[in-house]
């Protein structure tokens, strides 16, 4: 699968020191429009002009809330990014923001600093992109609360991933000894998304991987991913991804953490 310009990502397991899910870097040598797919996660991103190895000039912070649909980012030539993707359930502590308020939103520049003033310290000059990456990783590490999410909320998120977003919320609730209202409250607090929204995002991500990474045919993908039929899957792909199951677009699929 072609990766537009240069995108690199380092995944971290739960045993690693890094409290985030992944650290990523991206550099656009040429102007492009990048399609960002919903993955149910929040990111802290630093954007800057770059020669490919170091930031040049001001660094702009961005905070992305959990999304349920795609968006297109126009990128000017010579733009670099450094990002920290936060493990679902950890963003509330790291960001100190009500995650529901930033769902499907991106806070840019001053708006990001206003929401999270401590971010300003990360946006000072850096001698290299790697240095900036380390600085962002340390920032996330310092702000992480190891007791959050609580094990029950973490368990809910894990079960959603395990079942590919296919298990009815009532069954997930019952599995964890909760009622549906409690599940809803916990998921909203931990991720900014409702359980049904999160399930749909996870189901979509799985279908993308089956179709475009594993190369499974569209009919089998729709069936195994748990869509009513191919037409249903096509609608979801269009709505959430702006893509069609028929044709492989230029996509960057984020890595799956263990």
């Amino acid at each position: 699968m072609p990766i537009p310009n240069a995108y690199r990502e380092t995944l971290y397991t739960k045993h690693d020191r890094f409290a985030g899910e992944a650290a990523w870097q991206s550099f656009a040598e040429h102007a492009c429009a990048h399609r960002v797919l919903p993955d149910g996660r929040c990111d802290i991103i630093l954007r800057f002009a770059s020669d490919g190895t170091k930031p040049i000039g001001a660094i702009t912070p961005l905070i992305t809330g959990a999304a349920t649909r795609f968006h297109i980012v126009p990128i000017a030539a010579g733009t670099g990014y450094v990002g920290a993707r936060l493990r679902p359930g950890t963003a509330a502590a790291v960001l100190g923001i009500d995650l529901r308020a930033i769902a499907n939103r991106i806070l840019v520049g001053d708006a990001a600093i206003q929401a999270l003033p401590a971010l300003k310290s990360v946006c000072t000059a850096a001698s290299s992109v790697d240095q900036l990456t380390d600085r962002l990783a340390s920032f996330v590490e310092r702000r992480c609360d190891p007791s959050l999410p609580d094990s029950l909320s973490a368990g809910l998120i894990d079960t959603m991933h395990l079942t590919g977003g296919r298990m009815p919320i009532l069954d997930i609730a019952s599995l964890h000894g909760l009622d549906v209202r409690s599940v809803r409250r916990r998921m909203m607090g931990a991720t900014g998304l409702g359980p049904k929204q999160m399930a749909m995002v996870i189901q979509f991500q799985r279908a993308l991987r089956l179709r475009f990474l594993a190369g499974l045919d569209a009919a089998s993908t729709a069936f195994e991913a748990g869509y009513a039929d191919q037409a249903h899957m096509s609608r979801v792909f269009r709505q959430m991804g702006g893509v069609s199951p028929a044709r492989l677009p230029d996509l960057v699929l984020v890595g799956l953490p263990i």
């Binding site: 395990l162 079942t163 599995l175 799985r206 748990g226 263990i258």
Partner: protein, 131 residues
């Protein structure tokens, strides 16, 4: 094709390995450093346990094995010369008693327990002994 592996997705691989050592007297072959995969020494067909995060990595969506839920539609059948003693050992180690060993019309002695993850384990005498 040969049946190479039976792989059960479990919440805690190490706890499952230790349980199978205590409850069923099986030996471990190895536990991977990641603690997300382990194999028991069961001869040609390997009994293995994979951590649940591995399911998503493998592109799979599965129903979790939980002792509080209805058992998944499969069983592991362990064969022993003394199913009665083996059943007692398993239950003493924490396996959930389902059906104490009893003699079937064809002479085999069969009992059922569920393991710590709720998976059905049959404990039975060998069929060859009847011939």
């Amino acid at each position: 094709m040969k049946l190479g592996y039976t792989i059960i997705y479990v919440a805690d691989v190490v706890a499952t390995v230790e349980f199978y050592e205590r409850a069923f007297q099986l030996q471990r072959r190895f536990v991977h450093d990641s603690l997300l995969y382990a194999e028991m020494a069961t001869g040609d067909t390997v009994l293995a346990f994979a951590g649940e995060p591995m399911a998503e990595v493998n592109g799979l969506a599965i129903r979790p094995n939980r002792k509080t839920e209805i058992a998944g539609g499969f069983e592991l059948a362990l064969v022993t010369d003394d199913p009665t003693a083996a059943y007692a050992t398993a239950v003493a180690a924490g396996a959930a008693a389902i059906t104490p060993p009893s003699e079937k019309p064809w002479g085999q002695i069969v009992g059922y327990v569920r393991d710590l993850n709720g998976c059905l384990v049959e404990i039975c005498s060998p069929m060859q002994a009847l011939v």
